[in-house]
Each structure stands twice: as structure tokens, then as C-alpha cells.
């Protein structure tokens, strides 16, 4: 523990779990407050203060939560991929903690994206599930997340598991674009391009503002939950090492 140094260098502050707990503690409460505030403003704009879309009518309001969650499902995977590189290349101790804390969040946001997507598609398709390109590749992404979480659970000792999960995550990062491309090809092969072009180039301001605010709200939500998750994971590992020491002392 680097208590002896007077001012731990930037890198140790970032990479040492003990230091991480110290500097991340004051961040949690303010972040929670900001996230709640942005959510309230976002909901106010999304549900009340914006007109319905001339094309899709009121169902555009579902888009305000579908698009952010769909975007988050890929953003969280990017965070995990960067952490995976951190684990494998620089053996950064906080990297695998971040990876482990992010995986369940990624899976949940992807599931939410599918949930809201099927509700959004219901009025136009007439059914909850249509094998269209984007929705199907989101579904495959969910399976990848669940696979990663299953791999985390299969390892008893998280330290050993981290490198394996990092490798799988990176392999996933390479394969996701391929999956996306092939699924789109498969979808268009069997049906004309789906009419649902939400993010058209020209989006009237009245739709853009709620969308951007909700974007910010969901991203902040992820950051807060990820930070809390990482703090919990660091302490869970300290518990494991303390238990090991307790056992040795008891021998």
C-alpha cells in the first residue's frame, strides 16, 4: 500500500485499487444527483413537452428510450473491450474490475433495447418480434453478453478468470461488426429494407432535444452504476484475500 508516498503519482492513483476507492468515494453522490436531475428533465421533454412525430405519431416517445439503450448496449461493450485490452496488455488491476462490473449492465441495457424495440415495432409490424436486421444483431449481442457473464460465473477465482474473459471480449469485439453485417445481409435477403428508418438525417429539433437529453441521462446512469459496481468488486476481492489470510492464521 503506497501510504508512505506523500502524493501518489497519477498512474498509481488510477491503477491501485486502494487509491481507486479513495478518489472514487466522493464522486458517487454528486453523480447520482446529476443523473436523477437529467433523467427528470429528459422525461419531462420526452413525455410532455414535445409534439408527436408527423410520421409515427406518439410512438416516437418510445424511441427516446429505445435509441439510448441500444446505443448504450454498444458503448458498454466498447468500455469492456478497452478494459480487456487494459487487462491483457498492461495488466492493469482496475481493468478487469471494470470489465466485471460492466458486463451485467451491458446485458441489461441490451435486453432493454430489445424490449423497447419490440414495443416500438408492434404498431408497425403488428407483432412483437420481427427478424429485421438491427433488432436481430442486438439479440446476438445480448447472447454474447450472457456468454461473457456465464464465463465470469464459471471461474471461481476472478483473478484467473479475468484474462480468459478479456480474451473472449476482444474476440467478440472483432466479431460484432461481422455479425452485424451478415445479419443485415440475411435480413435484406429475405425482406425489403425495413421501413423503420428512425435516425433519418433531418430530425426536427423537437425530437432531437428529448433524444439528446435522454442520451445523457442513460449514459450518466451507466457511469454511476459502473462506478458503484467497481467499488463493490474491489471490496469483494479484498474480502477474499482477508478470508484467505484469516484461514492461514487459523491453521
Amino acid at each position: 500500500m503506497s501510504h508512505s508516498q506523500d502524493r501518489p503519482g497519477f498512474w498509481t492513483r488510477l491503477s491501485n485499487p486502494g487509491q481507486f476507492l479513495i478518489w472514487s468515494r466522493p464522486l458517487v453522490v454528486p453523480l447520482v444527483v446529476v443523473t436523477a436531475a437529467v433523467f427528470l428533465v429528459g422525461l419531462w421533454f420526452a413525455l410532455v413537452n414535445s409534439p408527436e412525430d408527423y410520421q409515427m405519431g406518439d410512438t416516437v416517445r418510445i424511441m427516446y428510450i429505445h435509441v439510448p439503450t441500444a446505443w448504450l448496449s454498444q458503448f458498454v461493450y466498447a468500455v469492456m473491450a478497452v478494459s480487456a485490452i487494459g487487462t491483457l496488455v498492461w495488466r492493469h488491476p482496475m481493468a478487469d474490475v471494470s470489465m466485471k462490473a460492466a458486463a451485467p449492465l451491458g446485458a441489461t441495457f441490451t435486453a432493454l433495447a430489445l424490449y423497447t424495440g419490440s414495443l416500438w415495432g408492434r404498431p408497425t409490424w403488428g407483432t412483437f418480434w420481427e427478424w429485421d436486421g438491427r433488432m436481430t444483431s442486438t439479440l446476438v449481442l445480448l447472447l454474447i453478453y450472457l456468454g461473457i457473464i456465464a464465463l465470469w460465473r464459471a471461474f471461481e477465482d476472478p483473478l484467473r478468470g479475468a484474462r480468459m474473459v478479456a480474451i473472449l471480449t476482444l474476440v467478440g469485439a472483432i466479431n460484432i461488426p461481422i455479425v452485424k453485417f451478415s445479419v443485415d445481409w440475411w435480413a435484406t435477403l429475405h425482406q425489403p429494407a425495413s421501413v423503420l428508418r428512425a435516425d433519418g438525417p433531418t430530425m426536427p429539433g423537437s425530437i432531437l432535444t428529448p433524444l439528446l437529453i435522454m442520451f445523457g441521462a442513460f449514459t450518466l446512469l451507466f457511469i454511476v452504476l459502473h462506478l458503484v459496481g467497481m467499488r463493490t468488486e474491489v471490496r469483494r476481492r479484498r474480502i477474499a484475500s482477508l478470508e484467505r489470510r484469516l484461514a492461514q492464521r487459523g491453521a
Binding site: 419490440s118 447472447l143 450472457l146 456465464a150 465470469w152 460465473r153 464459471a154 471461474f155 435480413a187
Partner: protein
């Protein structure tokens, strides 16, 4: 006696839910098989709806076959099975307890996950309900066959791969009546009788599994 029976079930479930075990991955495997098929067949909803009962049952069938090896493997390797021979519970009841745990950890989550597949495979609610019923009736039989296969191959070092192959032929009737109980094709509606036959097969298998598997386990350590 009952305390020992409950102790085995509680311990095995607790172990399965802790980290370091892959109990819930079978559900993932089940859902994945269901999802993969439309990629091969194509997203045509009418065709998918017709094939949905077969897809769901094949997925359940393969998922339960893969889960067989874990029924006795861990307990055999760390000596628990050897010590249970002299527990208060006869080996037959130990096997029954493990059979119940095996069903709870593999088939039960499968049945809970069936609606997910139903939505993906464009199943109508009626078909979904019949699928759930046929899975509830059929999976105990699969679990029983699995326990017998596990008992026979537990002493083999590479037994994990042999068991599914041994058990699969005996499980074909369950598959036939399982799918039959959902949609019996163009002819007269035979789903009712298929359901009864499925239940009969399952009951018979669950009845003989403890004795057959206990015999195999007891002989296994010789």
C-alpha cells in the same frame, strides 16, 4: 431420512448457484439453439410458426443431454459419492435427490425460458401453452434417462461425452410424443393422447432411474 434427502437437494442447488458452476448456461444454450434455427430457415413467420414445436423440443432435448455429465461427476471425483454409500439414505434415494436437483437446474429454467423462444418463433399463445405442458411432462423422463446415463459413465474418465450418445436413442419416444403433444400435424388432433403417452413414459423412467443408476454407481467404484 427426510433430513438427509433435503440436505442433498439443498447442498446441490446451493453449489450450483454459486460462482464456479455453469448451471444456468444450459438455459442460454436452449435459447441459442432456438435463435439459430431461423438464421438457417429464414425469418418467414408462417414457416417458423409451423416448425416452432420441433425447434423448441430439439433445443430442450439437446440442452438436457449436455447437462447429463454433471449429475454425479463432481461428487464422484471428490469422494462424496463413496461416503454417501454409508449415509442414512440408501443410494436409490440419493440418486432420486440428485435426479430432482438435475431436473430443477436444467429442465425447470428451460420451461421458464420457453416464452422467449415462443416470441422469437412467432408461436401463438395456444401453441406456447401446449409446449409448456409437453415440456413439463417430458423433461422428467429426459432427466431420468440422464441420471441413468450419468450413473453408468461416471466412473469413466472421459465419460462426459459418452453419456449423451448412450441415452439419446432411449429418449426418442419422449421427443416424438413431446412434439406430438403440441401439434400433431394435419390429421385428427392427437395432442391429447400424445400428452398422456408422454406422461406415462416419463413416469416409468423416473420410477426405474433411481434403481438403475444406484446399481451403476455402486458398481462403478468397484
Amino acid at each position: 431420512m427426510r433430513r438427509a434427502f433435503a440436505a442433498i437437494i439443498v447442498r446441490d442447488i446451493r453449489l450450483a448457484l454459486r460462482a464456479g458452476s455453469d448451471a444456468l448456461t444450459l438455459v442460454l444454450f436452449f435459447v441459442m439453439i432456438g435463435i439459430v434455427v431461423p438464421f438457417a430457415i429464414g425469418p418467414d413467420r408462417v414457416l417458423l410458426a409451423q416448425l416452432a414445436p420441433a425447434i423448441v423440443w430439439i433445443a430442450a432435448f439437446l440442452a438436457s443431454l449436455i447437462g447429463i455429465d454433471r449429475v454425479f461427476r463432481d461428487d464422484f471425483e471428490d469422494g462424496t459419492l463413496m461416503l454417501l454409500r454409508h449415509g442414512t439414505l440408501p443410494m436409490e434415494l440419493v440418486v432420486l435427490a440428485k435426479l430432482i436437483v438435475h431436473w430443477l437446474l436444467t429442465a425447470f429454467p428451460l420451461i421458464l425460458a420457453t416464452p422467449v423462444l415462443a416470441v422469437l418463433l412467432a408461436m401463438d399463445p395456444g401453441a406456447l401453452w401446449r409446449t409448456v405442458i409437453s415440456l413439463i411432462l417430458g423433461t422428467p423422463g429426459l432427466a431420468a434417462l440422464g441420471a441413468i446415463g450419468a450413473g453408468i459413465t461416471v466412473s469413466l474418465r472421459r465419460g462426459g461425452l459418452v453419456a449423451p450418445v448412450l441415452v439419446l436413442p432411449f429418449a426418442i419416444p419422449i421427443l416424438i410424443f413431446g412434439v406430438g403433444a403440441i401439434a400433431s400435424g394435419i390429421g385428427p388432433d392427437l395432442t391429447g393422447s400424445a400428452r398422456l403417452l408422454l406422461a406415462a413414459i416419463s413416469l416409468m423412467l423416473v420410477a426405474i432411474a433411481p434403481f438403475a443408476a444406484a446399481l451403476a454407481v455402486r458398481a462403478g467404484e468397484d
